[in-house]
Amino acid sequence: MRPAASLATRVPMFADRTNTIATIALGALLAYLAYAFGQWAFVHAVWRLPADAGSLPCRAARGEGACWAVVVERARFMFFGSYPPGAQWRPAVVCLLFVSVYAASVMRTFWSRWLLASWIAVSAAAVVLLRGGWLGLADVPSESWGGLPLTFLLSTVGFTLAFPVAVLLALGRRSTLPAIRTLSVVYIEVVRGVPVMTFLFMAAVMFPLFAPQGFAVDKLVRAQIAFVMVTAAYLAEVVRSGLQAIPRGQYEAAASIGLSFWPAMMLVVLPQALRVSIPPLVNTFIALFKDTSLVIVIGLFDLLGAAKAVIVDPKWVGFGAEVYLFTAAVYFGFCFVVSRFSLRLERELGRARAA
């Protein structure tokens, strides 16, 4: 049995009888599941509905084939929410802007201080474009914004604004000044220890109750601030862990050539600390990207919120699996790209390592 022996040494899954049986059994199960899914998702799936047929063909195929028609028909709503259909080029352009700035961030040729500026510029442009009210563009209040642009906006702006706050908090927590250190520790621990949803509720419900008369802040802005506050606390701990990885000798060398605190931080310590922190930083961004779906609790409809709104429509009741699968695929797609980006970033920066 030479071939079997060599197979066993090469592939531990077939090393002995128990392993071989387990491998075959599990393999068969996986194959069956893949087959069943393929049958449901592709072979018997309903992609389009004839006009005026309602969802009857889909209901007929229930249990045997997926109803992708719901995704096809309601894609616009899921991507752009209840944004006026006549002006949907605006959220489309916003999505394109965000995707391009993400793409530019991946490419090393674009790495400069302009990249940071472009993140801020794109966020600002997104708000201006979605809001309208200029050059004859219809005014669209933020309550009508929804879907993917909202997800992009909340996560991008949230991360961009939370980042500098987080760096200050992390430095504050390591400060030798007791007042600054205590404030930072209290902020980080309190905010980290409270569920994000609580913050959103406070932003949406409590804040207007306690805000002075005539002092109204847009609900979206309040939600955004809540995300910034929460993300800053998480990021602060990420940055702090990066700072701890920098040997004391680096601080001393920076001091010995005459750099005072802030230049030493900005030029020597933080560039190294943030490099070490890339994986957890990206992790936090991915978490934030998905956490933005919590805005549904305060009546804003991001990508997931819009998906949920689709399946309460009587026409599409019962087709949650298709809608959720599609939404999950969109989220996964973006998060996967982001995580690939972080791996690439680590490789690119790997050359400049400590000796």
Partner: protein, 252 residues
């Protein structure tokens, strides 16, 4: 002879009865040390004797608890401003090199001139290349520290310190982390520096170096300066029993 000579201070370093504690450990005991401009001093002593702490007090990396330290006419206090003022004129070389790993050798050298002295980019670049040539690693200027050997890294660290045109250089065991075959190249660089008339305080166990370049050799133990003599006398007739025991261990 030295254009930086300040009338208010006869000594480049003037330490008066300096004491320092790490918790309950008394690391510097009534240390009084005067160094003239251009003097080259080697400080030796057993590990934990306080020799590193002593020179780290001279650029404010460690704060002293009592006594007085005046460097180049500036008294070191807890005030950040005076410390920065001193650091700008005092270079330091560390045992572990402490180059900035995320910057190239050239960027390591130009960082402080550009950011602290506000020298132009071009001028800083030329300055860095000048000193990198002097320590004979100008061909490595574009590499990252991690791509260099230990000896090359330490020479780059010396060049980085020199780029601030310091009046004084502190060396904290600059060859202790090096493989034996690289010690020589770093010591040669330091010897050539000694010919320039720059004030040097060097913590090292390289007694050959001490003989060759030092004006004075200081032996410190238990935070106290036990011996302070010309190298000739220091090695020929050490006055203290502890010095003799120490020398018999490092010389053979």
């Amino acid at each position: 002879m030295n254009e930086h000579e300040r009338p208010e201070s006869q000594f480049h370093v003037d330490m008066q009865a300096v004491n320092k504690w790490f918790g309950t450990l008394h690391v510097l005991r009534d240390v009084t040390l005067k160094v003239r401009r251009g003097e080259r001093i080697v400080i030796c002593g057993p590990s934990g004797s306080g020799k590193s702490t002593l020179i780290r007090c001279l650029n404010g990396l460690e704060a002293h608890h009592s006594g007085r330290i005046v460097v180049g006419g500036v008294e070191l206090t807890r005030e950040v401003k005076t410390i920065d003022q001193v650091r700008r004129r005092v270079g330091m070389v560390f045992q572990q090199f402490n180059l900035f790993p995320h910057l190239t050798v050239l960027e390591n050298c130009t960082l402080a001139p550009i950011r602290v002295k506000k020298v132009g980019r071009k001028a800083a670049h030329d300055l860095a290349l000048h000193y990198l040539t002097r320590v004979r690693i100008s061909d490595q200027a574009g590499k990252y520290p991690g791509e260099l050997s230990g000896g090359q890294q330490q020479r780059a660290a010396i060049a980085r310190a020199l780029c601030m045109n310091p009046e004084m250089m502190l060396f904290d065991e600059p060859t202790s982390a090096l493989d034996p075959e690289m010690v020589k190249e770093v010591l040669n660089t330091m010897v050539s520096l000694a010919d320039e008339g720059i004030t040097m305080l060097c913590v090292t166990h390289e007694m050959g170096f001490a003989r060759q370049v030092a004006n004075r050799v200081i032996f410190i133990d238990g935070g106290r300066i036990l011996e302070d003599n010309e190298p000739d006398t220091f090695f020929r007739a050490p006055g203290h029993e502890r010095t003799r025991a120490f020398l018999s261990q490092v010389l053979h």
